[in-house]
């Protein structure tokens, strides 16, 4: 399954709706469909739209989902140059971060998925993988 949407955060909720639907069709645990996937995907999408694509309304974001009986793999592609996943992960347990408004996205993505990978492929791609428990 793949979806291309305009570079606008208002689309995030309905893209997630489609992925949640797929998650339930595949009979993954309800927590994965209600928490892990939607939150991780919201982070990846808002970063793609606001960071990678710099909130530019002329750009687009691509989401693809592929699933096996054992795992769901979601790729989010923006038109930006990519970023350093390690350097962008901030520990919210650090007291200096606790009262910050931002900076929890990449951390949450990694905490909620089994694997998060970043690679460049004519733009930036973030790949999220979660396995059946």
């Amino acid at each position: 399954m793949s979806i291309e949407v305009p570079n606008d955060v208002r689309y995030i909720e309905s893209v997630i709706g489609l992925i949640q639907y797929e998650c339930r069709l595949l009979d993954f645990p309800s927590r994965y469909c209600a928490l892990n996937l939607p939150v991780a995907l919201s982070e990846a999408l808002s970063n793609a739209i606001l960071r990678g694509n710099d909130d530019d309304p002329e750009k687009a974001v691509n989401v693809s989902l592929s699933a096996t009986t054992q795992s769901i793999v979601i790729e989010v592609r923006d038109e930006g140059p990519g970023f350093d996943l390690e350097a962008s992960t901030h520990d919210p347990a650090d007291p200096a971060n606790l009262e910050r408004e931002d900076g929890r996205g990449v951390f949450l993505m990694r905490a909620l998925m089994d694997r998060v990978e970043q690679f460049d492929d004519d733009g930036n791609v973030v790949r999220l993988t979660i396995g059946r428990p």
Partner: protein, 110 residues
């Protein structure tokens, strides 16, 4: 998704209906800041009808809580389901907020 504001005595109760995410967090922020401006100091956000919250939703709660404390007020939370509790635990925000199991207990706690 929407945010319903209701007054219980001097407590401003906000129900988050649907998701609290990057696409709508400004709306919550504005509604709460309007009440703060009008003199509200005790705020309760009730998550009974909430789906998921992303990091910008969490961020808006953190920044509202700070602004309310600066005015001598307080922001408390109620009715986080297990999934939402996990989010607060992962980000240690369960240490920043006072979180009640029910709306009644949260209202009494002020």
């Amino acid at each position: 998704m929407s945010f319903a504001i209701d007054k219980q005595g001097d407590i401003v109760v906000v129900d988050v209906e649907g998701q609290l995410i990057v696409g709508n967090r400004q709306e919550l922020k504005q509604k709460v800041l309007d009440e703060l401006e009008k003199g509200g100091r005790k705020f309760l956000v009730d998550f009974t009808q909430t789906g998921y919250i992303d990091s910008s939703g969490l961020g808006v709660l953190v920044s509202l809580s700070k602004k309310i404390r600066e005015q001598g007020g307080e922001l408390r939370l109620a009715n986080l389901n297990d999934d939402l509790k996990t989010l607060f635990e992962l980000t240690k925000l369960d240490t920043l907020f006072q979180i009640a199991d029910t709306r009644e207990r949260a209202l009494e706690s002020f």
